[in-house]
Symmetry: D2
Subunit: 365 residues, 4 copies
């Protein structure tokens, strides 16, 4: 495949640009019999969509997804599910200032070098607008995993610039526009973002995702390990510069006795591994964390070159997120869901007869 | 594919267990005409092989690779290259103590739960012994990239437990058993490792890899981004728990004006991006960093369960690396080489006629 | 992938049912810079579409394709091309008679056994309606191959029931509703089809496809041979039961001296091979032939069972093609184009530096 | 993948040339727990190996396969199975006559044009020697399918030149060197082949393969149909120029009432479909047929060109099969087994929860 497909048995292929007529995707491999309607996907789309608070881009998109195939009488048929969202609020004229110059830190330059030219309107294919389809596709995976296996995939903002969530209260996550699980930090986030917007700058963020209710056994070593495919999927999200599982980079300074998760008949005692050992799920919660860089589309001028190679300054007008991390929580959840779903199907194919002789220990931790 | 293949046009499929008769791989898609002999691969294999200093496992393997196909009259033919290394120094009896109990932090448990049973000798397929084939395969990619494009891929130990390299002197990297680029830290590393070995414990590490001479344009958005596939490849290495590109997790606290790499006609001014923008190489050096956890096979007893689910203690005899990160440098280089090579071929296929009209700026930084 | 994608570097993923809201596909991997508009694809869509003569189904579909992405300022950008065709003329009530019984010779039964239930309206996903998207996707490949390489892909009806074309006059192919290259047979075809329609029966056909202007060197042995992937692509067309290259089944009775195509400095003397030797194109014309079975949806009653397993009779009302082979010519061309296109890109990726030292002989024959 | 891998969940990747040190393959995705030893694969390897009668090449190869991984204590572990066969009887000097000229009808020319040069010894990678590994890999699939599902895959010689088998007596197939199911034709085959060998010519053949005990539901429409992937796999065998399922090319002259297989509660009444409807297995016997061209390596001189493009004559000394079809029966069985195996695993992954509510009708016919 040429780069726009992810997954082997449960696969998602996407298309669409920021300012084209529509974005869409094909979800292939969803098992038959899952109850599914567009409404089931809308909740996560609404969590991701722009313009829901003053802290994200003011582009207004309803992001209403249409299911074009693969569902009959309210149930998936096992055939590919075509999804589409029409683009409605495009202001292409905003982009005339950057059509022949490259924003530093943006894909403008690399698209030009790879393809010879680029759709400069809203970043074209490099726009995070494309992630709406990931959220829709991931919504199907989430629903199947929850209903069939009790697997639950949830994310939250762990850090935004200098502000770290210090409590993990899942009930708080959906109660503020930041997906912050620590209610005590919300006011601080509000004022930080207001100041940043005024300044015309942007900021990075860290998002954590957890999957609970995981069965043991998912993941195909050597190359298609569960953690390796999660890293692939999460790093494929716009602006992500780092991915961790479990202890992540902390393990550099850990000793073996600290890092290894001891086991008892009642379950694992800790979860440094983040739910994956040897590339295979252990049944513990899957714990992933990602770093998102600050947006490169800024009102503050920066040095760059134009298509002729001359030195110029660039200022981005248009409408942009000062922190792309804010809207990334549902996207990261979706990518985890897609990978886990694919591995559920792959694992069943090869291992359906296996009896390990041992009860799954993972759910105890 | 079922998990043991990586790459689309340049692909590597591997097989083999720690204590089976041999390990091997098939490298498919190497262009014809590359001069290649087993000796070309031996240097990197020797860098990775066990027993070269007192700080790694004392297993003795010559790790001599045999080329079984794909080379004729000293040149690659374009057909698959079969590679094999016979295992010679196996002491399976060392493993009788763990055949029916699971080392905490090890793949013992997850292999059991996935497959119903496992080859417990030396970790079987989950052993890092398999990475010898990655090094051999990566050696082919490295040679092609260097000779055809001048791309050079090199790694080093950036941190081991609390000890950080503070200088990057490439000339030092091969002069000590740690791949440490800071000569001033070698004595400290020696004594730290000696103490650790005495204690019976293990430690984590961080490895950095850089690719210089990169052309702009490699990588296929959306899902097959260069950074996403690097994350996949690097996270697929045993014990890796985190992957970063460029600024990595530092970007969480960066502002847009700090992170964006400004451009001039003479090149980029900084390299926070690590050489990838929008999933496509910018021509700047590719900079990746990985975290490796401490080995879970320890002489210090740990709590676990046996195959009957009873609580037991486990102690690992056998021969193990107290820091798997030490030997990981050539492995990480190999994985980067495989991914870059695959993307060179893929890019040429789709974009060979492209003229971007702009000179590559990347090589200036 | 889960079955709805074909191709590795130039890939097509399709979705859609006969009576759903729309059918569509994503074409991934088209090189940037190709001039493309919906109108470029319409000619082949019109050649395939239903209702253009009394000899095909009377369903009326405009089959107007919309390009949703991947084209900017009239040129492909190198990003995925989303294509969609809305379904308009659906008469789902026609299918109530077969909703709980299985047409013999149809996919009704196998879809039920595979998925547990099925979208019975117009055959759902098993309907040849899906092939409209193949024609659209193939149109992109055809245009690129023709403009960039001078490769031309054309098909014709070689036989319909007992009536064989005895002349190959390419100028005649588009002048009759059968794609018959032998003008002397058209009247016979007309009356045969009129009688068949009156009878309520259906008939098989043979379609030939030729690609001229082929370069030598396309195809990846061992498994991804050009002929093997052509066989895959052509057998994936609804109703196809056989595929031949060159001499095809005639070779069973040929001696080596008859079959081998001798070569001279002016080219090959014959083309028994059909343009492929060892899985790689020889530069001669690619010659493929397929057999299409008679439609199984008949007004003549047949024995079958219903969903309860009881014996019943089935009669298909609805609107069906009495010879699916008639509309199959553009579909077969499209599939050949998709495979050749994919192999052009794959070949370039791996072999762009190759100089064989010998001029291509193929074009002389 | 670059051409030497087939299958998605059960995949086979092969390497090796006719006159290199060894041929081999990696079988990835075999479920754990299958009892397996090299001896299990030897029977089919012996059926394929050269030199077993005077009617095949007199090259002597023991074709003893070694299992290098993936089996522990006599059972598959779920990890990749590495297989290798050392080449022993190579006479490279026989090939000096063709090193700089191209045998007409052979891959010599196309390999030269694709790769720039070629391993001319025994045809290098284009030699049918490579098919030994397919037989070994297929043997694993056959064993799993037979033991786990009762699926049995068997082939026979249906025609050799003008001589057709008129009876299908499975008990006869293994009792003569031709795999001919009609004992009355064996003497005729013997004398025909003796005359052909004396003449220095070669002849084509037709091989049929049947799979019995098939479950309904295997195959993934649209592109990964069971019949399409069978066509791919069978056309990938050296010398194959045509593939048919069920009625095959006979369907061109069939009416719908003849071709459709009517159904009763006791099963299908006929099997024109060859066991596949809509790309999905019906549970009836799978019936495939292939045409193999006559060998192009002949002692009779033929016109060709050399690497300089000059006209020359070519005569092939060396040792060759006068009818490659004779040894093709186990190869064709192996390819069918690999495809069916892959689809069993894929089907289980996506559809394991499906209850169609209807007993499988296929086994009754």
């Amino acid at each position: 495949m040429s780069g726009n497909t992810i997954g082997k048995l449960f696969s998602v292929t996407s298309f669409g640009e920021s300012h084209g007529p529509a974005i869409g995707c094909i979800v292939d491999g969803c098992p038959p019999g899952l109850e599914l309607a567009a409404g089931d996907l809308q909740h996560d789309l609404d969590r991701r969509k722009p313009g829901t608070s003053r802290h994200t881009t003011q582009r207004r998109e309803a992001d209403e997804v249409e299911i074009l195939s693969g569902v009959f009488e309210g149930k998936t048929t096992g055939t590919p599910i075509g999804l589409i969202i029409r683009n409605t609020d495009q202001r292409s004229k905003d982009y005339s200032g950057i059509m022949d110059r490259f924003r530093p830190g943006h894909a403008d330059y690399t698209y030009n070098q790879k393809y010879g030219f680029r759709d400069y309107r809203g970043g074209g294919r490099s726009s995070a607008r494309e992630t709406a389809m990931r959220v829709a596709a991931g919504g199907i995976a989430k629903k199947y995993l929850r209903e069939r296996y009790g697997i639950r995939i949830r994310g939250y903002l762990a850090q935004l610039g200098p502000i770290k969530a210090e409590k993990l209260d899942w009930d708080q996550v959906e109660k503020n526009p930041f997906f912050c699980p620590d209610a005590d930090k919300v006011a601080e986030l509000e004022s930080y973002m207001d100041a940043l917007r005024k300044e015309g700058n942007s900021i990075g963020a860290r998002i954590n995702v957890a999957a609970s209710g995981m069965p043991a056994g998912l993941g195909e070593p050597i190359f298609d390990r569960l953690d390796a495919e999660l890293a692939h999927a999460l790093m494929s999200i716009h602006a992500v510069k780092g991915v961790e599982l479990g202890a992540g980079f902390h393990c550099v300074e850990q000793k073996g006795t600290e890092h290894r998760d001891e086991m008892t008949p009642d379950g694992f005692l800790t979860n440094q591994a983040g739910g994956v050992l040897g590339g295979i799920s252990s049944g513990q919660d899957l714990l992933a964390s990602i770093a998102l860089k600050p947006t490169s589309s800024l009102r503050l001028p920066g040095k760059t070159v134009n298509r002729d190679g001359d030195p110029v300054e660039v200022v981005t007008e248009g409408r942009h997120d000062p922190c792309v991390g804010i809207r990334a929580t549902p996207i990261a959840e979706a990518m985890v869901a897609i990978v886990v779903m694919d591995h559920v199907l792959r694992h069943r194919g090869q291992n359906m007869d296996v009896d390990s002789g041992l009860t799954d220990l993972g759910s105890n931790c």
